[in-house]
């Protein structure tokens, strides 16, 4: 049997290689690229922090940063809450509950692009069934993604429709990992259903919730396809999140350096927020 202190690293090597090639090296390249500019002649040169200096004075960047933060401040808690609620609903051992679980997870199987196109039709002002329904019940047609006031919230709705079922799976697994005897012990200790949820379920769901919140945050900061397909950052720049800014810088203005600068800032923001979220959801035992 071959066994040495290198054996564990050998087993880790494929994963580490993947991490290096597809994550770490691109990050370093992107961070390096954010310090370059392209001349009119097409050759790259080192420009130092010029791209960042430009962004700091660009009102469009600041507006985009605001939109990105607003989007995330709403969507991450919302998706976590909706996913948790759904997980609690389908956790109960009811007949046919598998059907509901399947239906809730199904949006996951629809590609982001296709779901954006479908929602475009669904919410359409003339042909969309939703507006027809809203008019029928007397609320009246809504502009949804066609209005600067509603576009961002429409995108939040679409992303939540698609994401909640996916995150629900992790929370459902978390609920199953709580030993049933702990609930029973609480019931015998005199806890009502609400008290059991408040004092047993909720604290024991800390870890899965932390995972979902962190992973969801990272994904939602990189939210892009529906913006590109449905709103192109509009109307009036109301949905122009940082990812869209990065895209535009690179592919509309051909300014790779600026695009990479936006991406680098985005990465830094995600890191800071993820660290904060992890700290927030630490258990008292870990804090001790």
């Amino acid at each position: 049997m071959i066994s040495s202190r290198w054996t564990p690293y050998l087993f880790l090597a494929p994963a580490l290689a993947g991490l290096l090639i597809f994550r770490l090296i691109p990050i370093v390249v992107a961070a390096g690229g954010s310090l370059t500019g392209v001349s009119l002649m097409g050759d790259m040169r080192f420009v130092g922090l010029e791209n960042f200096e430009y962004l700091m004075t660009d009102p469009e960047f600041w507006s985009s940063l605001n939109i990105t933060l607003l989007f995330n401040v709403i969507i991450n808690p919302l998706q976590l809450a909706v996913a948790f609620g759904l997980a609690l609903l389908v956790f109960r051992p009811l007949r046919g509950v598998w059907l509901y679980r399947t239906l809730l997870v199904l949006p996951m199987a629809v590609s982001t692009g296709i779901s954006a196109v479908l929602f475009g039709l669904f919410l359409d002002g003339n042909l969309g069934p939703l507006n027809g329904f809203l008019e029928w019940i007397g609320i009246g047609a809504q502009p949804f993604h066609r209005s600067a006031d509603q576009a961002l919230y429409t995108l939040i709705g679409i992303a939540t429709w698609k994401g909640a079922g996916y995150w629900m799976l992790f929370l459902l697994a978390g609920l199953y990992s709580i030993p049933s005897t702990v609930h029973e012990a609480a019931a015998i200790d005199g806890a009502s259903a609400w008290q059991r949820f408040r004092h047993v379920t909720l604290p024991l769901m800390r870890k899965p919730m932390a995972f979902v919140l962190v992973a969801d945050t990272a994904i939602n900061f990189l939210f892009f396809a529906p913006v590109y397909i449905l709103t192109s950052g509009g109307p009036s720049g109301s949905t122009s999140v940082l990812m869209f800014q990065a895209y535009r810088a690179a592919f509309t203005f051909s300014d790779i350096g600026r695009s990479l600068a936006v991406s680098t800032i985005l990465l830094a923001i995600i890191l800071v927020i993820v660290v904060l979220e992890f700290r927030l959801l630490r258990s008292p035992e870990e804090r001790a």
Partner: protein
């Protein structure tokens, strides 16, 4: 201080009947052990008493009050689980005080009750720890502590020691016994370990296939099992059984070997019976039946032998050291009072 009465209790899960009519009275301060093999329904019975499962029919009363349809909260019982079921996110102190906090006791009361219970169980130094930082024995103690701070009407134990190693199990067994002698609460204790049941309980209830086979004081059950199942279940090493028929004032094994019957026993000849005798009741004598030693197992104080008698191996337990070797011939005997005869068909005991 409390009593419990169970009347014709039944429980089915779907088409499977787990409890088939249980009647049980538990006196105030009594320590009752429910024993039986896996799947006999003893844990289900305990969960029904706790209110964790709902009875299909029949009734459970605690202190004369019918609690059959009440949730656990309304029964004032405490339970110690096999896996302890401690709250992993709470300290030992908070685990033990949880029920008091829910009940709305003030902080000073909770503190003093938790401190008292911790002192009884030797948990003083561990109060600020989390369950994940405790050993198995310590967790078991916390689970017991969580039960005693409440001073409930009934203590329920669901195999509380089966996750501990043998040495710790023996130690905790003694602690639980001491605890009962001190608190004098009514306790119901489920175990599959007949030694635990024998040593702890005032009364043992032996269950099989959803029914109570026999109940009584541990030594009464040991000495006078009502049927072959109880005889075989209580005692370790287990009772020896030989199949055969009754002759005139003797027992004829299937291979024709003659074995003695209880003194003064006289019943229909030719009846198929099981001849039972405990390993420690057999010993070498001058005149008796013969056997060939197959295996010798010295344990220090005892010597356990496997002796082939009437074509089958009998376990013989001698409370002394013996110089015998496999292949040796032995003449064995048994006192008439130590012989148990059971009906071969239904297993029932044939004599008083």
């Amino acid at each position: 201080m409390s009593t419990m009465t169970i009347d014709n209790l039944r429980k089915s899960f779907g088409a499977t009947e787990i409890l088939r009519g249980i009647d049980l009275d538990v006196a105030d301060g009594e320590f009752v052990a429910l024993v039986g093999p896996s799947g006999c329904g003893k844990s289900t019975l305990l969960r029904l008493i706790a209110g964790l499962e709902e009875a299909s029919s029949g009734s459970i009363s605690i202190d004369g009050r019918d609690v059959t349809r009440l949730p656990p909260k309304g029964r004032d019982v405490a339970m110690v689980f096999q896996n302890y079921a401690l709250y992993p996110h709470l300290t030992v102190r908070a685990n033990m005080g949880f029920s008091l906090k829910l009940r709305g006791d003030d902080k000073a009361t909770i503190d003093s009750k938790v401190t008292d219970a911790a002192a009884v169980l030797g948990l003083d130094a561990l109060l600020e720890r989390y369950p994940g930082q405790l050993s198995g024995g310590q967790r078991q103690r916390v689970a017991t502590g969580r039960a005693i701070v409440r001073d409930p009407k009934l203590f329920l134990f669901d195999e509380p020691l089966s996750n501990l190693d043998a040495k710790l199990r023996a130690q905790m067994r003694t602690e639980i016994k001491a605890l009962h002698q001190r608190l004098k609460n009514t306790m119901i204790y489920v175990t599959h370990d007949q030694i635990e049941a024998m040593t702890l309980a005032d009364r043992i209830v032996v269950m099989q296939a959803g029914r109570i086979e026999q109940q009584g004081a541990p030594l009464d059950l040991y000495d006078r099992p009502a049927n072959a199942f109880v005889g075989g279940f209580l005692g370790s090493p287990a009772m020896n059984f030989v199949k055969g028929i009754l002759g005139s004032g003797l027992f004829l094994a299937e291979d024709g070997t003659q074995l003695p019957v209880p003194d003064g026993f006289d019943a229909e000849q030719g009846r198929s019976v099981l001849w039972g005798v405990r390993p420690e009741a057999i010993g070498p004598v001058d005149q008796g039946f013969s056997g060939v030693v197959e295996v010798v197992e010295p344990t220090g104080p005892d010597t356990q032998l496997l002796v082939r008698v009437a074509g089958q191996p009998l376990v013989v337990l001698m409370h002394k050291r013996m110089r015998v070797s496999p292949g040796d011939q032995m003449t064995l005997g048994v006192q008439g009072a130590d012989i148990h005869l059971f009906d071969a068909a239904d297993g029932r005991r044939l004599h008083l």
